[in-house]
């Protein structure tokens, strides 16, 4: 690879064939992600993509970046540890709605609050794809399934609202079929300091074939992104869920503890024990 020439999207793609079903929205997310990385002019070795478990969480292996396919629901702590310890890396955390909002919900809350400088992408298909079709927190209350016959009857989880309420610094919604828009949102998110969250509506054609209709439901937000979380929240709570684009851009200082400089040696630290 000639590192001095600008990289193309395909330079970010590995040779591994995805396990995804034909038509799965996640193929498009993969494509947009590679395009965004090319646009961002990152080198593949400077980027780490961290995921949990689920169909969507398979994405790291399909990239030529560093990757970590962790356990179910724990991608954000993995990414947090990596970013705090290695602030020089570009860290992108990716996964599904079950992984991120069900088992991983607590980390989502606290990652938003901590405002680590990373980008979190959730491929939301409102279902557990990998385990063959159970409702996730974003599933509609009346969606019938073997585990919840007749539907869960539960109000869906509002990831964007929760992200805002918990302190995320950049909040956006995308649709996987919209490659150009998704690419742009990803690169904006990566460029924005602090914790950036993108909910990408990414259809599961196998267990939610009706999601193929999402294509026609999608529309641009009627207004510009705001930097007022309360206004952003109201707007998101009242939109139809298919409003794509940047919905909130904040300016909170990203998380930082130490300055990475050695102010003392270990020998200095030992002094306190001396009698």
């Amino acid at each position: 690879m000639n590192v001095s020439a600008p990289l193309k999207a395909s330079d970010f793609k590995s040779d591994l064939k995805p396990v995804w079903c034909p038509g799965c929205g996640d193929y498009h997310v993969l494509l947009s992600l590679t395009k965004a990385l090319a646009d961002l002019e990152r080198k593949p070795e400077e980027v780490a993509v961290i995921s949990g478990i689920g169909c969507s969480s398979r994405i790291p292996a399909y990239l030529k970046c560093y990757g970590f396919h962790g356990v179910h629901g724990r991608s954000l702590p993995l990414g947090t540890g990596l970013k705090v310890a290695r602030p020089d890396m570009t860290v992108i955390v990716a996964g599904g709605d079950g992984d991120g909002f069900s088992i991983g919900g607590n980390h989502f809350l606290h990652a938003c609050r901590r405002n680590i400088d990373l980008t979190y992408i959730v491929m939301d298909n409102r279902v557990y794809g990998m385990t063959k079709g159970q409702p996730s927190p974003t599933t509609e209350p009346d969606w019938d399934s073997a585990l919840s016959p007749g539907g869960t009857g539960l109000n869906p989880f509002h990831p964007l609202v929760i992200a805002l309420a918990s302190g995320a610094n950049f909040v956006a919604r995308a649709f996987s079929g919209d490659i150009r828009g998704t690419t742009k949102l990803i690169s904006d998110a990566v460029n924005h300091p602090g914790f950036s969250f993108i909910q990408i509506l990414s259809p599961c054609v196998t267990f939610r074939p009706e999601q193929k209709e999402w294509k026609s439901a999608i529309h641009a937000p009627p207004v510009e992104a705001t930097d007022d979380p309360a206004r952003a929240a109201r707007r998101i709570m009242t939109d139809d869920g298919f409003n794509v684009g940047v919905l909130y851009r904040g300016d909170r200082r990203p998380y930082k503890i130490g300055d990475g400089v050695e102010h003392k040696t270990v020998a200095d630290l030992e002094q306190e024990f001396q009698i």
């Binding site: 292996a61 962790g70 310890a85 130490g258 003392k264 630290l269």
Partner: protein
């Protein structure tokens, strides 16, 4: 020889009192004064159920040579009052030689005390204190005890000045006067044992440290630069020591939302090439096991210190027990070989942690360190620890010419790791079973190869002699681990002084068990005693499962909250000897 061995290794002192009496402060100053005067010793604390305050007992042992644990009996009991004394009675064993000092205003001498000894001395401490403006009973007690055991008054005074100078002249003066009053009345306790200094040891540089501090220091000595923390008793001090210390040396500590997060944060950081640690106790370890399995499968080194407390479940958070051996060794799902070590003393918390960091990094595997509440929170005077050359030194690829295979099948099982940022080394770490490149695979061959590789790298490693501390010779062999090593080693030494030969094997590397080495050490054994502090004889079962033990092997064990004492182990040795 008689069964009643006379143990005379230093002086054991208990100071008890109700909430606010300040027995811990007095005890701490006694310990520090002993340290400054060239002695060794330790202090532990026992408290009631109150969150803060409430009755407390400061338990000390002072000696002219290094001591690691309470002996099992007390020479001096100083009761500022008797309220709630019953809570501590089981821990404060007295015999006919014990000296008891109390203030009659603090209630009646409990039956259990008066039955044990006749040396009971009434002193009106409260009255003494009331005669000094701002006077406090605990400072008078300090003076009496320090005087009685022959600690130099100037040393204690020096400490008082250092400790109270900042609180203003009045406080300082009151403390000074109390101390003087105490020393004046020390003569009333004439029959107390005295501290006699040992010229040989007097000048060795000493540290005053807890096991939790020692473990934290061992971590940074070993090269740790990142920690993630979720507080839990009795491990929190490790994290609280690391927080400012890591920042000072250019590292980071992140407070996590829970233990699921803290374990994954350190895995993420270590994947990034930064040696990482967390500390917890049983309940937190239980939450971490799924992800420790991830670190095992994805081959990411991490270190987890489990400061054990009474179990199961929330159990007894403030008391020591060695009952997390099973979960530490066997608590991961699937076949998941990893390292388990245990420090053998407070000072050894430093060595074992530093060594464990080195081992984890060298083998790219998680290491669980089994410390416990006793080791972690006991305050101890130790010799300044030697510098040992165990550092994080991970096998890394620097330059990649050909295709990189992260999980290559090397002879020793360790595959050089590409650290994120290294061009050409990109791979995806995975907890799914994978081929040599890291690509998910369910093929039998890949599964078998990777299982064998992960087993091989820790089985075949050269651990040197550090896997255990072995002392003495004899056909009676005691095998033990962790904090129980201290009373075992001390009891064995006392037995040897009485002409009984005992060999002790205190195992530091619990997993992988060095079966061959252990069997070689047991070769001449006629009888084996396996000693530990838990209910199910976990170590004994584990040894049986892996090692050919002599038919005459017996487990001696009991759960917490009481530590195994030197006296009780000595009596077990006597039993074996008589057989």
């Amino acid at each position: 020889m008689s069964d009643q061995i006379k143990i005379d290794t230093g002086i054991s002192i208990a100071l008890t009192g109700s909430g606010g009496a300040g027995v811990m402060t007095a005890g701490g100053m006694l310990l520090e004064a002993a340290a400054k005067s060239g002695f060794y010793g330790l202090q532990t604390r026992s408290v009631g159920p109150q969150i803060r305050g409430g009755e407390a007992a400061a338990l000390l042992r002072l000696s002219n040579h290094a001591v690691e644990i309470h002996r099992g009996g007390f020479d001096i009991l100083f009761a500022l009052d008797w309220s709630n004394f019953s809570r501590f009675a089981a821990e404060i064993t007295l015999d006919e030689n014990s000296v008891v000092i109390f203030d009659p205003e603090g209630g009646e001498v409990p039956e259990i005390v008066s039955a044990a000894t006749k040396n009971i001395i009434e002193l009106p401490i409260k009255k003494f204190a009331s005669e000094i403006p701002g006077g406090r009973m605990n400072m008078i007690a300090l003076g009496i005890v320090a005087g009685a055991i022959d600690l130099p008054k100037e040393t204690v005074l020096g400490l008082i000045v250092r400790k109270f100078a900042s609180k203003g002249e009045a406080v300082l003066e009151a403390s000074r006067a109390c101390l003087e009053a105490g020393y004046k009345h020390a003569g009333s306790v004439a029959n107390a044992p005295k501290l006699v200094s040992d010229a040989e040891n007097a000048d060795v540089p000493r540290w005053l440290i807890t096991g939790n501090e020692a473990a934290a220091l061992g971590a940074v000595r070993g090269g740790i630069k990142f920690a993630a923390a979720y507080p839990i008793t009795p491990a929190t001090e490790i994290l609280e020591w690391l927080a400012p210390s890591l920042t000072a040396i250019g590292g980071n500590l992140v407070q996590a939302e829970d233990e699921l997060s803290s374990i994954n944060m350190i895995i993420g950081a270590s994947y990034g090439g930064i040696p990482s640690i967390t500390a917890t106790s049983g309940p937190g370890l239980a939450l971490m096991t799924e992800s420790i399995g991830l670190a095992t499968a994805a081959e990411v080194p991490v270190v987890i210190v489990d400061v054990m407390r009474g179990g199961p479940s929330t159990g007894i958070p403030t008391k020591s027990e060695q009952s997390d051996l099973n979960i530490a060794i066997y608590g991961l799902h699937g076949d998941a070989p990893h390292l388990v070590t245990a420090p053998l003393s407070v000072a050894d918390c430093l060595f074992t942690t530093q060594w464990s960091v080195h081992l984890a990094e060298a083998m790219q595997v998680p290491a669980i360190i089994l410390s416990d509440q006793y080791l972690g929170q006991a305050k101890m005077i130790i010799d300044k620890p030697a510098d040992v050359a165990f550092f994080a030194d991970r096998s890394k690829v620097e330059k990649i010419d050909t295709a990189y295979t992260r999980y290559a099948l090397t002879a020793d099982g360790v595959s050089p790791m590409a650290i994120p940022g290294t061009a050409g080394g990109q791979y995806t770490a995975d907890g799914l079973e994978h081929s040599v490149t890291g690509t998910p695979s369910s093929a039998a061959e890949d599964h078998h190869d990777q299982l064998a590789k992960r087993r091989r790298k820790i089985e075949g490693f050269n651990y040197g002699t550090h896997w255990a501390e072995i002392e003495g010779e004899g056909d009676l062999v005691i095998v033990t681990w962790g904090s129980t090593a201290a009373p075992v080693r001390e009891a064995a030494e006392l037995a040897r002084a009485e002409g009984i030969s005992v060999k002790t094997i205190a195992v530091r590397l619990l997993a992988p068990l060095r079966v061959e080495a252990l069997e070689a050490e047991l070769a001449g054994a006629r009888r084996v005693l396996v000693i530990e502090q838990n209910d199910l004889a976990q170590f004994y079962r584990y040894l049986r499962g892996h090692v050919d033990l002599p038919a005459d092997t017996r487990a001696y064990h009991h759960p917490g909250p009481m530590m195994l004492s030197t006296t009780e182990i000595l009596s077990e040795i006597m039993k074996e000897h008589r057989l």
